[in-house]
Amino acid sequence: MNINQTDKHKDRNKKKKKSRNGNRNGNRKFPIFYIILITVLMYIPIILTVFYSFNASKISSVWGGFSLTWYEVLWKDREIKEALGNSLLLALSSCFLAVIIGTLGAVGMSKTTSKFNDLISYLSTLPLMIPEIILGMVFLGIFSFMGLPFGMFTLIIAHTTFCIPYLFIMVSARLIGIDKSLEEAARDLGASQIRTFFDIILPQLVPAILSGVLLSFAMSFDDVVISIFVTGPKVNLLPIKIYTKLKTGITPEINALATIMLAVTILLVLLSNWIGKRNQSSMS
């Protein structure tokens, strides 16, 4: 509802400034309705998950009344907490590495003309095309061949490998059609290559990097198949825990966990919003 109002408002303002803006802002009702509809559909399973986390019954098909038991069970579950920490650490480290490797790779390749560029950019996206399970098995073989001890280290390598393509694809797509004149102007004015990268190129890439990070974080945070092969005896990961728990029976404990994670994410979003607003007002 809010979207609608602000946009209408914006519409009116724009119309005052510019008489013709029909292309962008005409007929706004349908798009807004469409966006809301699809978003609501995407949230249906989530809402049900949250709802059933308060189910007293262990079996999800029976509603046994409201209860917080599963939150208590979850709170006492040491393994889940450890696994959650490990998974966050893993997802963040591999995203971080993937951002650096993927972005630098995409930018570098757009600047140089080497016949290997095409080949490497094709190959670097291959992990997306190989079924996860065989990738996991192959990693298992390769890592043991290299003598790497199975654990967080091997996990980070494996996850970085399949996170890079997301960053690489997103950033490359963004680089095409980016205005080169700004960059040239900066160079003409004597900015160093590094300076140009950080001041001119990077800011333009930020949306693409962000989409890439959001996707690869989600992929890493959700990966079971590859992780199960490359993890070591001491590293428990959340998706593996969830997966193996779901295998033996859908316990509402998992729903409770999903609910809490959802709540924390939303809280963080709100918090950052608030911080952002405060910064803005203090600056002005």
Binding site: S60, K234, T244, G249, N273
Partner: protein, 378 residues
């Protein structure tokens, strides 16, 4: 952009706190454990005169099995008693575990609990070490029915931990007749109303049983004959699933289901009105067992853990929690009366046949038959 950066930062902080927490608690526990460990050792040294072989335990026990195989209190109890920290990690398929053991040459893990047939292979591959029975004085508590099986004929490598028989569970009212045999699953009255587990050796196996054959026949013609018959079951199949199959019968998605034991237990727990059929053609049964990989970093702890879970009371707790048939004879009397019927099985259980490893050709044929069957179901 600042906002997003702030979110990411926030997430990072949470991650830091959590992992920090995890580490702190483990450190604390280690610290606390050390003291309890010393206490336990002195206690053992004084109290247990029968067990002269008590070696000082320390370090960590890397336990590798499916999720939910031990109640938390049992794991905690062992940690408290011995001061060993348990790292419980999970695999999905037995074969994933085998792959991991092969690649680490039997290292990394101290104790594995897996299915009978895969243990046979692991032993064959030299990935399993013999138990140190001096460290397992409770070895005698095991129900001998579940010992001396094909995978470990001399009982040198394994401690059985749970046994199961896949059974048919059904809603008599919805089905409209009494299911007495595997054969009855072919009844057209069950159209689009049957859920089965997804293990092809099991499903092909019961088809072989309806023809009066063994699960483990290696005769390709016989297997093919069973395969043809299996195709006729397709119209009845609503879904095939290895996990949570019990949920579908409880929710009423299907009116009959062919389930693993732990699933049977869960289904009956959720809805005691469901009927169970012990098929007349003969039962199939399987055993899960614990073994110690050949290069286990802490085999002492593994032996001690096996000994720990063989204590009658502890064992009873375990089986009540996992819902498989109790393989510890001495534990039977400690199992709560309401679960006794489902968890303690009569001696006749071993008249059932175990699914064993068969020749490659036969195995491949089973797999092909299964694929055709799945396609026919669609």
């Amino acid at each position: 952009m600042k906002k997003i950066a702030a979110i990411l930062l926030g997430i990072m902080m949470v991650a830091g706190v959590l992992t920090g927490c995890g580490k702190n608690t483990t450190n604390d526990e280690n610290g606390a454990n050390q003291t309890t460990q010393e206490a336990a050792q002195t206690a053992e040294a004084t109290a247990e005169s029968t067990d002269s072989n008590t070696t000082a335990l320390s370090g960590e026990l890397n336990l590798y099995t499916w999720d939910g195989m031990f109640p938390q209190e049992v794991l905690d109890g062992f940690e408290e008693e011995t001061g060993v920290k348990i790292n419980y990690s999970n695999f999905d398929y037995d074969e994933d575990m085998l792959a991991k053991l092969e690649e680490t040459k039997g290292g990394d893990y101290d104790l594995v609990i897996a299915d009978d047939y895969i243990i046979e292979l692991a032993i064959k591959e030299g990935l399993v070490q013999k138990l140190n029975k001096e460290q397992i004085p409770n070895f005698g508590n095991i129900n001998p029915l579940f010992q001396s099986q094909f995978y470990d004929a001399t009982n040198e490598y394994t401690v059985p931990y749970g046994s199961g028989i896949p059974l048919i569970v059904y809603d008599k009212e919805a089905v409209g007749f009494e299911i007495k045999s595997y054969e009855d699953l072919w009844n057209p009255a069950l159209e689009d109303n049957l859920a089965i587990v997804g293990n092809y050796r099991v499903i092909d196996g019961i088809t072989l049983k309806t023809l009066g054959e063994s699960f483990n026949t290696e005769d390709l013609d016989t297997i093919q004959k069973a395969g043809d018959k299996l195709l006729e079951l397709a119209p009845n199949i609503r879904l095939i699933s290895d996990s949570n199959t019990q949920d579908y019968i409880v929710s009423g998605e299907v009116s009959a289901a062919f389930l693993y034991t732990s699933q049977v237990t869960q289904a009956l727990e959720a809805n005691p009105d469901l009927s169970v059929c012990y098929p007349s053609e003969g039962l199939g049964f399987g055993i899960m067992a614990g073994f110690i990989p050949s290069q286990a970093p802490n085999a002492d702890a593994a032996n001690a853990f096996l000994n720990y879970i063989l204590q009658p009371e502890v064992s009873a707790k375990c089986f009540e929690s996992i819902g498989y048939y109790c393989t510890t004879k001495a534990a039977e009397e400690f199992i709560s009366p309401e679960l006794k019927d489902t968890l303690v099985v009569p001696d006749t259980v071993t008249e059932g046949e175990i699914i064993q490893n068969i020749s490659q050709e036969a195995e491949d044929l089973h797999s092909e038959i299964w694929k055709k069957f799945q396609e026919a179901c669609d």
